[in-house]
Symmetry: C2
Subunit: 358 residues, 2 copies
């Protein structure tokens, strides 16, 4: 189906048979790796690392050199889009992302426009092309974006938030303004993901990190609806090959049926969801990705193997599962525990992919 030497990740997303369960880890290139911290120090800071395709390529490949992972994900940040819109992304040391010019008044919101990814986000596309060449078909490359709602949270709050007071105030008092932002974001994300596919991404993922902070009806109206638009607007095939997509709403375990119904190929699960019941609920329509609690990687190889087994046996036999964490890896993870996980998933998952006996 492709010139990929290892296409288990793509096949699992399309619910086709694979010899074992493929595995990759959200934020697999990151601060838990000493070599990542060295590159970051050379780059100067996190944003300089993201914006330099050479450095971004270097750190994207680092976890693949250590572990037998079945996919690479281009190193970038979900906030590149609002930065390209002119909001002025910066990182306050130890305090996470901030915007110099958060969206505060109606006139700014009216002026908001989707950026042209081929100019303002060229550095991401260059990193995608460069990583794709460097991978040389060893494993597929994932492109990604934040969801329109998750981007809006940062754009309106101007930073991370625990209660999203400003976003929710707008949602309940001026839903028209929030819809305007979300419409622009959905258009921007669609163009951005398509540009990543053109540049070489072989699968794409939408991270809806904050959709789970909403009520069910607000989630449908302000997050899911805009992801639906993206899914219907992105390329499903490129150069004759399927480009599968994954939608992940953290805290969205109550809405799996609704997420599966937007016609995505796979649904990401956070660790609070029991994967056996998730498969029973939506496994006939979509592949599932997840869902080890990242905190388990702080424990021991023995505990990691036990908990990975629970997830593999929970999903059970057959295709349609991509093993992953239920959220990004912690910076305090001992790198050798990641080895233990990747090795355990490969070894233990074989039993769930045997050919049926005649």
């Amino acid at each position: 189906m492709s010139d990929l030497k290892n296409d288990t990740f793509i096949r699992a997303l399309l619910r086709q048979p694979t010899p074992y369960t493929p595995v990759w880890l959200m934020r697999q290139a990151g601060r838990y790796l000493p070599e990542y911290n060295q590159t970051r120090a050379r780059a100067g800071n996190f944003l300089a690392l993201c914006k330099n395709p050479n450095y971004a390529t270097e750190v994207t490949l680092q976890p693949l050199a250590r572990y037998a992972l079945d996919a690479a994900i281009v190193f970038s940040d979900i906030l590149t889009i609002p930065d390209a819109m002119g909001l002025g992304l910066y990182f306050a040391e130890g305090e996470g992302p901030r915007f110099e010019r958060p969206l505060r008044d109606e006139s700014e919101i009216r002026k908001l426009a989707p950026p042209d990814p081929t100019t303002h986000l060229r550095y991401v596309l260059d990193a995608v092309s460069q990583v794709r060449r460097a991978l040389d078909g060893s494993v597929p490359l994932i492109g990604f974006s934040g969801s329109p709602f998750t981007l809006a949270c940062y754009m309106i709050e101007g930073r991370g938030s625990s209660d999203f007071a400003s976003v929710k105030k707008m949602l309940y008092q001026r839903p028209d303004l929030l819809h305007r932002i979300l419409g622009v974001n959905a258009e921007a994300v669609t163009a951005y993901l398509n540009a990543q596919i053109e540049a070489g991404a072989q699968a794409v993922m939408i991270f809806d990190t904050w959709g789970g902070a909403l009520t069910t009806s607000a989630y449908e109206e302000f997050s899911l609806e805009y992801m639906r638009r993206i899914i219907s607007g992105i390329e499903r095939e490129h150069a004759g090959l399927r480009v599968p997509n994954i939608v992940f709403t953290k805290g969205g375990g109550g809405w799996l049926e609704r997420i599966a119904a937007i016609d995505c190929d796979a649904v990401g699960l956070d660790w609070t969801v029991d994967i056996a019941s998730a498969r029973a609920r939506i496994g006939a329509q979509v592949a599932l990705q997840g869902n080890l609690d990242p905190a388990i990687l702080l424990s021991s190889p023995k505990a990691i193997e036990r908990e990975a087994t629970k997830i593999l046996s929970g999903f059970g036999s057959g295709s349609g599962h991509v093993f992953n964490l239920g959220h990004g890896i912690s910076q305090f993870t001992p790198p050798e525990n990641v080895s233990a996980l990747v090795e355990a998933v490969r070894r233990l998952s074989l039993a769930y992919h045997q050919e049926p006996r005649q």
Copy 2:
């Protein structure tokens, strides 16, 4: 059934008919009220306020003077139990609760013992008695506790946490130690809630604020199991009257059937849960409490009325619903918006409690 002038809250928890849907708000006595801030300033700080029954009584009654609420909840903190165990609770200004002596090594954990509520937590019981007398039967008084797991989170981390790295490390590497802490906590909470019932609490609630951070199987083993023990150990009747209980796991929307199965009277719902589907899932076994997003109170009376209507109509006709927020009220809530909510719930809920026409 009692000498209560308004027993709608108790009746709704027991799924008996009421003329309207009773309402109270988690953290209804709090920083959004100017009179609370005045009392707190007089007391000196939050902990001094909790530990002085006169001040605690005063602030407990403040929201009832403003709003037609159907229940009072004794003003206290969930961390009184670990404080009584000798961990040294204090509040760092603007940074939330801390413990001077968090549980770090095995010998401290082995020494842990449930405190005698009638001595070490006397100040809470005195506040309960005093509030009960002051209420004079106007509305029922709720007693409460944190869940064993939620208390353990603070006891082990020594403070709030976003990832519960220390607790989870113990959970996966030394589950025996965590079970030891949880066993002591469950015994302590049972004795504490029974002492509050003896002192005058007419209903009790268990706040499982952090159970939602667990995987499904860890939730069952490390949080729900210990709440089950408490429910089976607390008094269900006092002085000939039923004392209903409420169990609330924030982020527990995926586990409602399991929660209802521990034989509690009512299940609290956070705002992410659709109350119509919650009723369909567990409404035949338990009453439901919730579940307005507290952020809605930051908007306008019109939006508040619209969202309250969604919840009332979502639950639908009949008994078994206590209106509440899905989490504690925000300190930035305009007090007049609470008036709008309480008034709207009373007025709009009448339609769902009419006698069926012959």
